[in-house]
């Protein structure tokens, strides 16, 4: 276990192992999410309350879910950065924070568009949307702080502290926003709870959720590889990789 942990800290080893996983992540991710989306759009039955607009759920919930869990992952990586000083953890934070922003933006956008047919306005100060907006601020803070420091180590450790402080705050923020707006809809879907939706609705949703997680894994690995190439550009293995590895290996990360 510890050996594995130690190895994981080595950018070179991580570069290789990520390359081996990526094709599978990409393939399975695309397959699952496309299946789920097609099922949800074409075959799932209409919701008796919201009509067809509920079909936005098949992308709103996965992006919102993922946006939140990416923030948690960043905080976990922050703990690893501070405690074990592992380089790869920081590479993860750097590469993944922009992805989190994109996901949060998507969740906000789809939520707002969904709001129009449901509530009659594009923006309603609904608890979940407001929480997502605050999450966006948290992400922007992390990115802003990360780019403010020119020294990579300082940036990494500062961002780690901020992410941990943010993650301690997320439950408080969620609770306070829920309290502030008690008129919100109950959370649509939780893995741990028995779903109240019919299976024809939640199975495709589950597919898309799983698929986007896998796709996130792929884009995270891909971006991490790029970041590693950038950071380790002075090392011999990166030089050799760039010279002898050839384009194809670098683009897909080998396999």
């Amino acid at each position: 276990m510890w050996q594995f942990f130690h190895k994981l800290g080595s950018p070179k080893w991580f570069y290789g192992i990520a390359g081996r996983f990526m094709p599978w992540l990409l393939g399975a991710g695309l397959l699952l999410s496309l299946c789920g989306i097609v099922w949800g759009l074409l075959f799932a039955p209409q919701d008796y309350l919201q009509g067809n607009s509920y079909r936005i759920i098949f992308i709103h919930v996965p992006t919102a879910f993922l946006a939140q869990s990416v923030y948690m992952m960043i905080a976990v990586a922050g703990v690893i950065t501070l405690v074990w000083k592992m380089k790869v953890a920081d590479v993860f934070v750097r590469s993944v924070a922009p992805v989190g922003v994109v996901l949060t933006l998507l969740a906000l956008f789809t939520g707002a568009v969904w709001g129009k047919p449901t509530w009659g306005a594009y923006w309603v100060w609904d608890a979940r949307l407001t929480s997502m907006l605050i999450l966006l601020f948290l992400y922007l803070g992390i990115i802003g702080l990360g780019y403010a420091y020119s020294d990579e180590k300082t940036a990494a450790r500062s961002v780690a502290v901020l992410a941990i402080v943010g993650v301690v705050n997320i439950p408080i923020i969620k609770y306070s926003v829920d309290w502030w707006n008690t008129l919100h809809q109950p959370a649509t879907f939780r893995i741990t709870e028995k779903p109240t939706m019919p299976a024809e609705m939640w199975v495709p949703l589950l597919l898309v959720v799983l698929g986007t997680y896998l796709l996130f894994g792929w884009i995270a690995f891909y971006r991490m590889q790029t970041e590693i190439l950038r950071r380790e550009r002075r090392t011999r293995w990166v030089r050799e990789l760039v010279q002898t590895g050839g384009q194809s290996q670098l683009k897909t990360g080998g396999a």
């Binding site: 020119s150 020294d151 180590k153 300082t154 002075r234």
Partner: protein
């Protein structure tokens, strides 16, 4: 990692220190020990990492790798003792302009040492600030402000002093006086590590030589030690 302890007569021992800053290696494979009763001068051109080294020794900078031992045991296991037994004076020594020399000293010393007002007052007199004791420091000259900071050395009881550019802005007599103070301290068994721009008139100095200057990109730093300790 832990080697068998040798005679632990050193206060501080650094083994294979390496420090990289903004992608540039400042020093590598730097080993030395600081023994009571010695004066060590860190030497090197601008940008070679003298201040960084002192900050590492003080425990302010932790972007380094290697081993630092304090009195024979790894330093990170005994921060309390390290902090209490090390006095670090940076080139910005923490003197507030709106406070008087007396108030400044009181605030700086409060957490370290129980020193009476009387002692502080005598220290200020002896660094030549007797008449200025109750004048806000913003009205003092740069050299006088430096004297406020250095007044701490007149009663400091820490065995290890780390002085970064302690002589800046002092006039010739003051420099000589501080040099005498350091020599006395070393004779009494204290240890001093310092950086200075002038060549101090002190015999029996240890030297830590750093770097060849900022022109060297990190990629080209060879494996030969860029730093060494010689006894002068």
């Amino acid at each position: 990692m832990t080697e068998p302890l040798q005679q632990a007569d050193h206060l501080l021992k650094a083994q294979r220190l390496e420090c990289e800053r903004d992608g540039r290696t400042l020093f590598r494979d730097l080993s030395f020990s600081i023994v009571p009763g010695t004066l060590t001068r860190v030497e090197g051109p601008n940008g070679s990492g003298k201040t960084t080294l002192l900050r590492i020794l003080a425990g302010l900078n932790d972007n380094w790798s290697g081993h630092i031992h304090w009195c024979g045991r790894p330093r990170h296991k005994q921060w309390d003792s390290v902090r209490r037994n090390t006095l670090y004076l940076g080139h910005r020594p923490g003197i507030k302009g709106v406070l008087t020399p007396m108030e400044n000293l009181q605030a700086l010393v409060a957490g370290r040492q129980a020193v009476s007002r009387d002692v502080l007052s005598r220290a200020l007199v002896q660094v030549g600030l007797g008449p200025w004791q109750n004048v806000p420091c913003e009205h003092l000259s740069a050299g006088q402000k430096r004297r406020v900071a250095l007044a701490r050395l007149l009663f400091a009881d820490e065995p290890l002093w780390l002085l970064d550019e302690a002589f800046t802005a002092l006039d010739v007599e003051a420099v000589a006086a501080v040099e005498r103070l350091l020599a006395d301290r070393v004779r009494d068994g204290g240890a001093v590590v310092m950086t200075t721009h002038h060549q101090p008139a002190l015999d029996d100095m240890q030297r830590i030589l750093l770097g060849h200057g900022p022109g060297q990109p990190a990629a080209e730093v060879s494996d030969e030690p860029v730093a060494e300790v010689s006894h002068g």
